[in-house]
């Protein structure tokens, strides 16, 4: 029982490492003004190790698609494209 709980918690922690990296990539892309450095860096060893090939590609696609439509928190609602499909 304790062994299975440990495996479950370990597994979820490893998954959260991936969530954390993809979220920080998204934040970094906003900070650097979507200059392409984050989007094009699909094959960096750190990204491949934590997110894998499909995960790294998905993160880049999400950041790329969000470039035009995602507005960070703190920006007035009037500027947010509520009905935009990429949000």
């Amino acid at each position: 029982m304790a062994r299975l709980v440990f495996i479950f918690v370990l597994g979820m922690t490893m998954m959260l490492g991936g969530v954390s990296l993809s979220s920080s990539l998204s934040a970094q892309a906003v900070e650097v003004g979507h200059d392409g450095t984050i989007i094009d860096d699909i094959m960096s060893p750190k990204r491949l190790a934590i997110l894998g090939v499909a995960g790294s590609y998905s993160a880049s696609l999400l950041i790329s698609r969000g470039k035009e439509t995602v507005i960070p928190d703190g920006v007035p609602d009037s500027l947010n494209p509520i009905d935009s499909p990429a949000r």
Binding site: G18, V19, G52, V53, A54, S56, P85, A86
Partner: protein, 375 residues
Amino acid sequence: MTSHSSSGHSGLTRISKITIKLLVMLIFAFAAYGVAGMGVILAMYALSFVALGRDSEASHGISNRESSRLGGLAIGIIFAVFILVMFLLSPYTPGVVRDPLHIYLWSAVAACCLLGLSEDIAPDLLSPMLRLILKMGVFGLLLWVAPAMVPKQIGILGIDTLLGMPLLGWLLATLFCVGFINAVNMADGANGLIPGIVLATMIMFFLVYGRPAEGVLVFACAMFLIFNVISGWYFLGDMGSYGLGAIVACYGLLGVAQGDFSAGLMASFVAYPCIDFIYSILRRLKAGRSPLAADDGHLHNRLHRFYAPYFRSKVLPNSLTGLSISGATAGLSLLVFLNGWLPVESTLWFVVFGFEVLMYVLVIRLLTTHQYCNP
């Protein structure tokens, strides 16, 4: 807690087989989704030991080993935790929080998941009629409060006329959604069959919309597919088939209604559950039986009986059956989509759907003849 059964083998062999399967799953997960993917496999592995919602051997589809019905719950946990943490860590508010339409849509999905979970944990808790009424209620209410989800036309003469009338359109769309999740539940009888179809469909949704929710669903479905196909320790269960079926039905309706893709494209991706559902009903009516009575005359049952003699393994023919069908239907559609051979809005996707119908009829006839001659 309980252990995975494997009758006829020593404890040592069982442990080593489980370890080898786990290692193979971890390698595939790492290649696709890195450490995060390996984490999901470990979490699913731990969850598969939960005593709740277990099926004995041969009590589900074509499986012949003890497995958990909580695959849908595992996908749900992965999806919910991923989205929640991403929501907390990301510096922006996702659209689903701002857009009422998506709140209604996900509420309906959650209701379907809960309905399925109750069946997984306590089978026959709700009578089939009550379940049907509840599903009709959920989708009827969703499409009533979100009429934008009802397509005005799908490119088929006659049906377009009916869809043009608001009340009839609502009724047709409600019946379609309820029928579709029942069809998905009925077709969930082989490893990787429904997970493969849903994964291909989610990849298409993700590439069309590029939203985090679809990305996470692709991730969760891909990990479940790896786990399901290699180990056979999980079924989607009612929660998985109702929940994933509801997501595909709602996204599909909304996408067609908004003109993001054609009804033909959606039909080609989800062809197998729809064709198998209709064919099974017709087959049972022809034999003078109840149209909804369970039997083993589905294409996946027949294909499994065809594969089984060629393998010593019990899981391999089961997984090969599921992957053959999902690959030949949704996989074919994904191939056409990824290569851009047809525009997403094209009604020519109905030709792909027609080809899949033809393949289904041909293969089931061939298998029926083969199994009649070689019982």
